[in-house]
């Protein structure tokens, strides 16, 4: 047995310091580590640099709360429940945040490179677009490209010398201080088993210097090791573990619960202004902890989202049924 990796939600949030770079598990509105995200907001974390394969509600909640200085990614929104990221949009218009745009595949390949210790990735995606417009290198314009955590260049063009394949773009490895993951199961020693799509979780965990895994349940390590070929992330890649049922709410968790669409819709429509955001945060974030948050949501709402074990999602109520 290794050293004890268990921590609390509060301790998890405290590991992320003002000015840290941060990334997350999940995909748009699925498996986002919300219980810790809420706690970061409660702890008034500042100057965060989010580096995300893609954004989602967690981005919007943190950006709206003023926790974020730099957002480096490709997309933010709430899917069906809110077409774009209104908080980010507002802060962009007000020039309160630096946005560095890459394409989705570029962000993914940047994490693949970071996870495999390569300084950069090679791709041919998005050639000819304004993503590669040299005038739109926002971290460069802000003088933040120190070559340490933030690469000296946004990208570098070259030509394929091996197969005369045309233009090639090199994008820098993602280097991140902390990855926050939210998954179904983690073992006591840190082994992670994700059910369903694992999105970019393995790359995100490996690219970060510190990896914190929040899980629906902490299970005996030996249980997971009985079928090692079904596990997603190895024990020693995980530094800290937190058990937190429903920790992804309002985002969904394959096999456990669906996305809370009405909650996200309310958030989207209510937080287009800063006043709206502050009111929402006052009601749903500050002064609560995870348990009182669940109490506030209430049993009917939570049970309505519960996944069917044969399907791994919550089948929609048919018209007239209930």
């Amino acid at each position: 047995m290794s050293q004890d990796k268990h921590i609390t939600i509060q301790q998890a949030a405290e590991i992320i310091k003002d000015g840290s770079s941060l990334t997350f598990s999940g995909f748009t509105i699925w498996r986002r580590p919300f219980a810790i995200v809420y706690e970061l907001i409660r702890q008034y974390r500042k100057n965060l640099h989010l580096i995300e394969v893609n954004g989602g509600p967690q981005t919007e909640f943190l950006v709206g709360a003023g926790c974020v200085d730099i957002w480096e990614s490709c997309w933010v929104g709430h899917e069906l429940y809110g077409k774009y990221g209104a908080n980010l949009s507002r802060k962009v218009a007000d020039k309160e945040i630096i946005v560095e745009d890459y394409s989705h595949a570029e962000m993914l390949f940047r994490f693949v490179a970071g996870a495999s210790g390569a300084p950069y990735a090679v791709t041919q995606t998005s050639l000819g677009t304004d993503i590669h417009n040299p005038e739109y290198d926002m971290l460069g314009k802000a003088g933040l490209r120190d070559g340490k955590r933030i690469a000296k260049e946004k990208y570098v063009f070259t030509e394929d010398p091996f197969f005369d394949g045309g233009q090639v773009v090199h994008v820098p490895a993602a280097k991140v201080d902390v990855a926050l993951l939210c998954v179904q199961q983690v073992g006591e020693e840190g082994t992670v088993r994700v059910d369903g799509q694992f999105y970019s979780d393995p790359e995100v965990a490996r690219a970060a210097d510190i990896t914190i895994v929040m899980a629906e349940e902490i299970v005996p390590e030996e249980y997971l090791r009985r079928n090692a070929d079904q596990n997603t992330i190895a024990s020693f890649e995980v530094d800290h573990i937190v058990q937190c049922p429903y920790g992804a709410h309002p985002t969904g968790m394959f096999g456990h619960y669906d996305v809370d669409g009405p909650f996200l819709k309310d958030f989207y429509s209510g937080t287009r202004t800063q006043e709206g955001y502050d009111a929402f945060a006052k009601e749903w974030i500050h002064g609560l902890d995870h348990h009182s948050y669940l109490e506030k949501l209430g049993w009917p709402r939570i049970l309505k989202m519960r996944a069917n074990s044969a399907l791994n999602f919550c089948p929609r109520e048919k018209k007239g049924g209930n």
């Binding site: 999940g26 995909f27 748009t28 509105i29 699925w30 893609n54 954004g55 490709c74 997309w75 933010v76 929104g77 899917e79 069906l80 774009y84 980010l88 949009s89 962009v92 218009a93 946005v99 394409s103 989705h104 595949a105 993914l108 390949f109 693949v112 791709t123 041919q124 995606t125 998005s126 050639l127 000819g128 677009t129 304004d130 993503i131 417009n133 040299p134 005038e135 739109y136 063009f157 394929d160 005369d164 394949g165 045309g166 369903g196 799509q197 694992f198 999105y199 970019s200 393995p202 790359e203 394959f254 096999g255 669906d258 996305v259 996944a307 399907l311 791994n312 999602f313 089948p315 929609r316």
Partner: protein, 272 residues
């Protein structure tokens, strides 16, 4: 089989969905985004293209969802799929050249099929920041054909997009930014480009590979080429028009409303 529905039996979303489904050929590998394209692909799967292979960007390969997903990361995507994994699989497969067709959306499009989903106005001082690229440029870079589904407004069919998020047939060569044919950049990774735009007014295609400008292929029922030109900032090529967009069949409407989207998540039923 040409059991076409009468005008009061279908809505605009039905028409777009069926037009999109018709773009799919059987056995193709198809990359789907969230929303109407999902329904369109699943409709094709139910009708003329039972062996299409559906890929969701978040990481499900050859999926056969039982219930309509609301996003590509949805737990519903996994059901019946050949492999549920992650983005590295999906994008590696795309870059490797497996994808025949991708469905995408956009806020603005220009004559060469360059699409913007990033911002309205000057990027450095935008009027409105949008969602950002997502996988739009990636799918558009790697698929042999891409089809865009868009709302048709004059502010969306523009002379110059505020930002080129997703590459059309003539794109910017950096560092200078002069427009060149996409072949010149993509080299051996070149496999095609935008093949159709299905707007709320008509269906548009692109002239031969070398030129790559948009032309009007069909008008939706009740819409004239002139009305469409009025809703384009650029001069639209209407010389090749083939008539009217095919309307949905009753069988297609049955699949859309009784099988695929009974809860009207993406496609509302027509009030009769």
């Amino acid at each position: 089989m040409s059991d076409f529905a009468s005008p009061e039996e279908y809505g605009l979303a039905d028409l777009l969905c069926c037009a999109a489904a018709h773009e799919v050929q059987d056995n193709e590998v198809v990359f789907a985004g969230t929303g109407l394209p999902m329904v369109a692909i699943m409709l094709a799967q139910q009708t003329h293209a039972p062996d299409l292979k559906l890929i969701f960007e978040a990481g499900t390969l050859d999926g056969r969802p039982l219930e309509l997903p609301t996003s590509v990361g949805d737990a519903r995507c996994e059901m019946g799929s050949s492999r549920a994994s992650g983005l590295n699989d999906a994008f590696s497969i795309a870059q490797r050249g497996y994808v025949d067709l991708g469905f995408l959306g956009g806020a603005e499009v220009d004559l060469y099929g360059n699409v913007n989903t990033t911002c309205i106005g000057d990027y450095l001082d935008p009027d409105l920041r949008l969602t950002g690229s997502g996988g739009n440029p990636d799918i558009n870079s790697f698929a042999s054909r891409t089809v865009f589904i868009m709302v048709h407004e004059k502010r969306r069919f523009v002379e110059n997009t505020s930002y080129i998020t997703s590459p059309g047939w003539r794109v910017k060569k950096w560092p200078g930014g002069e427009f060149v044919h996409r072949k010149e950049l993509y080299g051996s990774a070149y496999r095609g480009g935008p093949s159709a735009i299905i707007s709320t007014m008509g269906v548009f295609r692109f002239a031969d590979e070398e030129d790559g400008h948009m032309y009007l292929d069909t008008c939706h029922p009740g819409v004239t080429p002139q009305q469409i030109q009025e809703q384009c900032q650029f001069k639209l090529d209407v010389s090749r028009i083939q008539g009217e967009t095919l309307v949905p069949t009753r069988e297609e409407l049955h699949f859309i409303h009784d099988v695929l989207d009974p809860d009207e998540i993406f496609i509302p039923k027509v009030k009769k």
